[in-house]
């Protein structure tokens, strides 16, 4: 893992050689570099990320992400909220898969209180978790096209994502910010007709995946733009703390849904963790495409055997969490998302540390952008897939 040979892979060596050649040329021709600020307002940054890129022609000499333009201080804000109020804050972190943000916090609070949600609530939580993953990642698949210049896929993504949002809305009442998870269970039961509707939608989404695969992944231009671009070797991915699909695309077989035991229903169904040996942009996109497919499989199987029973455990009317500390992380759409909750026995947390996936995922940007061309910056950023709310919190 720490061997220097793998640290300096062939691409980096080639880059250093090209830099040396360029330096000699620059002395003769007296060219100077140019600093390009990509962002804060730039369509490729999904919000307000700023990438400071020092260019030599169209080649990046060094690049550095500068985040914090959208910092909303959720860690601090949790300290002045009660536990049930925190969910309405944290589901704005990764705004595309917002239900998934609530779950680890609620699980941490439940762990501190020593209660567990009844099986039906666990099942519905898992279903909603996977639906929000589909809503998130299917938009990624469409957005990928826009980043690479194809304008049609994003509309297909919005078209089919709409069905998923309708399901989430029918259940929780909110399309983007459900605020549905409660300590000890859920706010409501599933609405009538949810199961049949969801089955139909999952079928639509599998068709969507096939469409995207035909339109985008099978396209030779797409492949030539993504294959071999932004390669992250396995050990580098580990050193920078990548998680989620970015890590799996580098060949790290690691999925928190499978690798840890939580009071959720993932271990009750049959699904597969996909990995890819290449670690390039294509691998990262392909892994996400497979993830949507697996999520539809998980939801389909969970729908088959939802247990009956209550959706809420016995919890006191006023929730006071006993003194202690708890860390719970789950495999969110963007990667590992965890909450470290410190309680002093009050109505709200004393301190919350939010570990969001995108913040760690973009930490690799200075390493990976060295020596690439300007169009590849966009490919690499798109394939790393960050959401600004998830970086800045």
């Amino acid at each position: 893992m720490t061997s220097t040979e793998s640290l300096i892979d062939r691409r980096q060596l080639a880059y250093i050689a090209s830099q040396a050649a360029d330096a000699r040329l620059n002395i003769e021709l007296e060219t100077e570099g140019m600093t390009l600020n990509i962002g804060p307002q730039h369509p490729a940054t999904h919000g307000t990320l700023r990438i400071i890129a020092h260019l030599d022609g169209e080649q990046v000499v060094w690049a550095e992400p500068s985040c914090g333009y959208m910092h909303r201080g959720y860690e601090k804000l949790t300290e002045v909220r009660t536990y049930p109020q925190v969910t309405s804050l944290v589901n704005r972190i990764d705004w595309l898969g917002s239900f998934a943000n609530e779950v680890p916090f609620i699980l941490a609070a439940e762990k501190l209180m020593g209660i567990e949600a009844p099986p039906r609530a666990q099942w519905i939580r898992t279903i909603l978790f996977e639906l929000s993953r589909i809503a998130n990642v299917s938009l990624f698949l469409g957005d990928l096209g826009v980043q690479l210049g194809a304008i049609t896929p994003v509309f297909m993504a919005f078209r089919d994502r709409e069905h998923v949002l309708n399901l989430i809305e029918a259940t929780t009442g909110g399309r983007f910010h459900p605020n549905f998870d409660r300590i000890g269970g859920l706010k409501d039961d599933l609405p009538a007709g949810f199961i049949d509707e969801t089955r139909a939608v999952m079928k639509t989404l599998r068709n969507f995946c096939t469409e995207i695969e035909d339109l985008l992944f099978g396209n030779e231009i797409f492949q030539s733009r993504t294959r071999g671009i932004g390669v992250i070797p396995k050990d580098i991915a580990m050193q920078y703390g990548l998680s989620g699909a970015n890590a799996r695309a580098s060949g790290i077989d690691w999925d928190l849904r499978r690798d840890q035991s939580l009071p959720m229903a993932w271990d009750k169904v049959d699904w597969k963790v996909w990995t890819h040996p290449d670690g390039d942009s294509f691998a990262r996109c392909w892994i996400r495409l497979q993830e949507v497919r697996e999520s539809t499989r998980i939801v389909d199987q969970l729908l088959d055997n939802i247990p009956t029973g209550p959706i809420m455990a016995k919890v006191p009317r006023i929730i006071k969490v006993p003194e202690g500390e708890a860390w719970v992380s789950t495999e969110n759409p963007l990667g590992e998302m965890g909450y470290y909750v410190v309680s002093k026995g009050d109505l709200g947390p004393f301190r919350t540390k939010i570990r969001s996936a995108s913040f760690n995922n973009i930490s690799i940007v200075p390493w990976i952008l060295k020596g690439v061309y300007v169009p590849d910056i966009i490919t690499i950023l798109a394939s790393l897939y960050f959401i600004l709310g998830d970086i800045d919190r």
């Binding site: 730039h42 169209e58 210049g149 194809a150 304008i151 049609t152 297909m156 231009i221 733009r225 300007v374």
Partner: protein, 351 residues
Amino acid sequence: MIALLAADLPYWAQSLLRILGGLVAVLLPAGTIVYLFLFKMMSFMQSRLGPMEAGPYGSMQLFAEVGKWLQKEDITPARADRTIFKIAPLVVLASTFLLVAVVPFGPDAWFTNFEAGVFYLLAVSSVSVLGILMAGWSSANKYSLLGGLRAAGQLIAYELPMVLAVIGVIIQAGTMNLQGIVVAQNGGSMFGWNGLGNPYILTQFTGFIIFMIAVQAELTQTPFDMPIAESELVSGYMTEYSGFRFLTFFIAEFATAGVFSLIASVLFLGGWGVPFAWFDWKSIDDISDWMNVVGPLIMFTKMMVLAFVIMWVRFSYPRFREDQLQRFAWKVLIPISLVNIMITAILKVAF
């Protein structure tokens, strides 16, 4: 028609007619392409309706947009090179008008019947590069500069396959006059059979494909739209333009798409003509005067088909990278078109 355009009218009236005709020939295709393809076809391909409010099925949307652009403030960046910044869009649009000047629309319906028409076309089509470079450089914006440089590199690289693709047509037709190429196609025969004339799309298919790819690159449409790549360069050389000057770029983009479709239909699809064998025409003198009315309609239909293909590719493909595009031009298109020229020349001599 000859009487109307050439002989009886005073010079100023002829010029006025030609200017009006040129405006129609440039703006009508541009408007139709924007409404039919950019607004409607793109929307239907993307599961949405597109503009529906302005006029029936949004047909007046274009006028609404033009009205909006005309109202906008004409901003010139503080550090811009003001004169060049202001001239640049006009240079780009001017190249479109220069292009349409030699396109024949009927046996007598042309603006100029230029002997070396193809030569002139290929020369004039590069004028837009100047405008784009001027826009990119004078904007005092790094994204614009990158876009302008990319556009220059790309347009120069794709000029060559385009010229080489057209040489095959010139060899077959034996003339560089566009009118002559149309007559050669419709009056010709393929291996002795003249039921369809000899549209060069059939006998010069390789040349046609290369020409269309080069046109796609000349127009900076996806998959060759790196100069204006929205997701990386934020519209490239057009970034700093607003109001009427942006509108000029916009018109130039789609008008040039229309004009290049017209040129492609003249070079490869038989232009305004119908196969002469259908009506027992022997030469250009036998052609009925009605072709001056029907011809432009035939041209328009062929233009729309080609523009449809251009836009279809535009809406479904992702974008190349700049170095991949150069590699594609120099290593794939140019060798193929050279081989094409050789084979055409050999066959021309043999038959």
